[in-house]
């Protein structure tokens, strides 16, 4: 991605400026300010306390774990942890917001500026600023398709803790926006503060999009709300940037507004009902005192963090000699990295990485499976790598054996024995085959000796074929040279 992303308009090239606000549902047993459960998919309104339903006289009491989850996330983003933060009320009316306000943090968030590294496809990285992270309540859920004239409201999600993570406008292409979401998801999953399940809505992104001619000051931005897949984020940005360029090039101006991405039509449209909704009349929540943390507690949380993806990636590059690209793939999920380390232990780490990335990931992808359901365990794949290493089978046969392992779950050793795939490294046996090949192709031997060097490959191929791929290719080469040239 050394080429900057540009969009060709009527009047020249344009660049896009993007900032993301990601809402990540905090992993916790109970909600942010009440003792009801956060479990997903329960019967309507069964996980609602009188606090969540905003009954008069109820008071919010903050969940310690949710606070710690926000601090862990902040530390993982190398961010400033604010030892004093304040909860505010963000006022608006909507049927799935029983309080008539959302408890959020406005001026004094729990986490300040941090940084996130994007792993670009060419192996380089790009640093993206984090503006802030704050804690807030999720809203309930509206179901519009249950009744022709009515909307049904389920408050099970109402009051579940969210982290809103705001980036600086440092992203400059749809791909970078996608990589940002991917990397953030990876970090959240490493530290165990959000499950990153975009389909269930545990992670949703709002994207701020503006366009400008390279070098110009920032343009007016539009915010596209609530996207739950990287693919939609790509599509929405591409559509929205084009829309803004068309308006500007025909002499119009951009209205700062909230827009919705229509996934069916692949276009964004204005959410007119939100026109005056930006006037949220924030004020400090009188039910909640400022949240004060002590540095010792923050330090303790920091000490308990696992090795994070960037550090792990650097270690894989330094210790195992992997390319930055391969290392980035292996560390994206902690389980994958652990799997790889088990496989690589005591083996050639590059060969191990190749087998995992090219063969196993390829096969899993085709079968629609994840690494956790892999029919081939790390030990089993390691067994196969060992058989290649000690010369029992060739790399080509190994691919056959692997396919069989994936199919049947048997070990490499078993398959090699059963099918008699052991590599032939016996000089006499290979010489026997070579003699047959040369006898059957006497004319070609003549041509070869007459100067047609290229035929050498033909003899190698024939010998391998006759041995059913089992002959040791190195020895075949060596012995053929001796017989033909000697």
């Amino acid at each position: 991605m050394t080429e900057p992303y540009r969009i060709q308009g009527e009047t020249g090239e344009w660049e896009v400026v993007l900032g993301l606000e990601v809402h990540a549902q905090v992993i916790s047993q109970a909600k942010l300010f009440s003792g009801s459960s956060t479990k997903f998919g329960s019967e309507a309104n069964t996980q609602v306390s009188l606090v969540d339903a905003a009954m008069p006289g109820m008071l919010p009491v903050i969940n310690r774990e949710c606070v710690e989850q926000a601090v862990r996330t902040g530390l993982a983003l190398k961010a400033q942890i604010n030892l004093r933060s304040v909860f505010d009320r963000k006022n608006y009316f909507y049927a799935d917001l029983p309080q008539g306000y959302q408890i959020s943090q406005y001026k004094d968030p729990i986490v300040g500026e941090g940084v996130l590294l994007l792993d670009l496809p060419d192996g380089s990285t790009k640093s993206v600023g984090i503006e802030r992270l704050h804690l807030e309540q999720d809203a309930g859920k509206s179901l519009h398709d249950q009744h022709p004239q009515k909307t049904y409201i389920d408050l099970n999600r109402s009051g579940v803790a969210l982290m809103e993570i705001v980036s600086k406008p440092d992203l400059s292409s749809p791909e970078e926006a996608g990589l940002y979401v991917k990397k953030l998801r990876s970090i959240l999953r490493y530290v165990g503060t959000c499950d990153g399940n975009m389909q269930e809505g545990s992670m949703r992104a709002d994207v701020n999009v503006s366009v400008r001619k390279p070098g110009d000051p920032l343009g007016t931005r539009c915010e596209i709300k609530n996207m739950n897949s990287v693919r939609f984020i790509h599509q929405a940005i591409e559509y929205e940037a084009r829309r803004q360029i068309e308006i500007l090039e025909s002499g119009g101006k951009i209205d700062q507004e909230t827009r919705l991405f229509d996934t069916g039509r692949g276009e964004t449209r204005s959410m007119r009902s939100k026109e005056d909704a930006h006037d949220y009349r924030y004020f400090p929540d009188p039910d909640l005192l400022p949240l004060v943390l002590d540095q010792a507690r923050v330090d303790a949380l920091g000490a308990d963090l696992p090795e994070l993806p960037d550090v792990k990636k650097a270690r894989f590059i330094a210790d195992f000699g992997l390319s930055p690209y391969d290392a980035a793939i292996l560390v994206e999920e902690r389980a994958t990295a652990d799997w790889y380390e088990k496989l690589a232990k005591g083996r050639d780490p590059k060969i191990a990485a190749n087998w995992l990335i090219s063969e196993l990931f390829g096969a899993l992808n085709k079968a629609g499976k994840d690494l956790v359901d892999s029919p081939v365990s790390a030990d089993a794949l390691g067994g196969l790598v060992d058989l290649i290493g000690d010369g029992t089978i060739s790399g080509r046969i190994a691919k056959e054996v692997f396919a069989e392992m994936f199919e049947t779950g048997k070990s490499a050793g078993e398959i090699v024995e059963e099918k008699g795939l052991r590599q032939v490294s016996d000089t006499g046996a290979i010489e026997g085959i070579i003699d047959e090949v040369l006898a059957e192709n006497a004319d070609k031997v003549e041509q070869y000796r007459g100067g047609k060097d290229k035929l050498f490959g033909f003899f190698v191929g024939q010998t391998m074929k006759k041995s059913q791929g089992k002959a040791n290719p190195g020895m075949v080469n060596e012995l053929l040279r001796k017989k033909l040239d000697g």
Binding site: G35, A44, T46, N91, A95, Q149, K150, T151, L289, V292
Partner: protein, 95 residues
């Protein structure tokens, strides 16, 4: 600080309070009187004074992360003007 009619109408709309046009003028007067009363506080010099969140010196109480509440669907929806199958039911609101 002094409010005009347009601002009062906009605040009323944000608060979803219906104020008929012939009541607006009077309400502008009432609100300005209240603001004027509160603005007497501006006479005190508070430069360098941190905003006070509590006079008791208490800090924010915190809960352990345990499920201790919920599981009473019928109680939650008991006061709803309309409910069905455990849901609150409201007039259709679609974007």
């Amino acid at each position: 600080m002094s409010l005009d009619k347009a601002t009062v109408a906009s605040i009323a709309n944000l608060a979803r309070i219906k104020v008929p046009d012939d009541r607006l003028e009077a309400m502008v007067g009432d609100l300005n009187a209240i603001l004027g009363f509160v603005e007497q506080l501006d006479e005190v010099d508070t430069s360098g004074v941190e905003p006070l969140a509590s006079v008791t010196g208490h800090t924010l109480p915190q809960r352990e992360d345990a499920v201790t509440d919920g599981g009473y669907q019928a109680r939650v929806t008991a006061n709803a003007p309309e409910s069905a199958h455990g849901f609150f039911v409201v007039p259709k609101v679609v974007e």
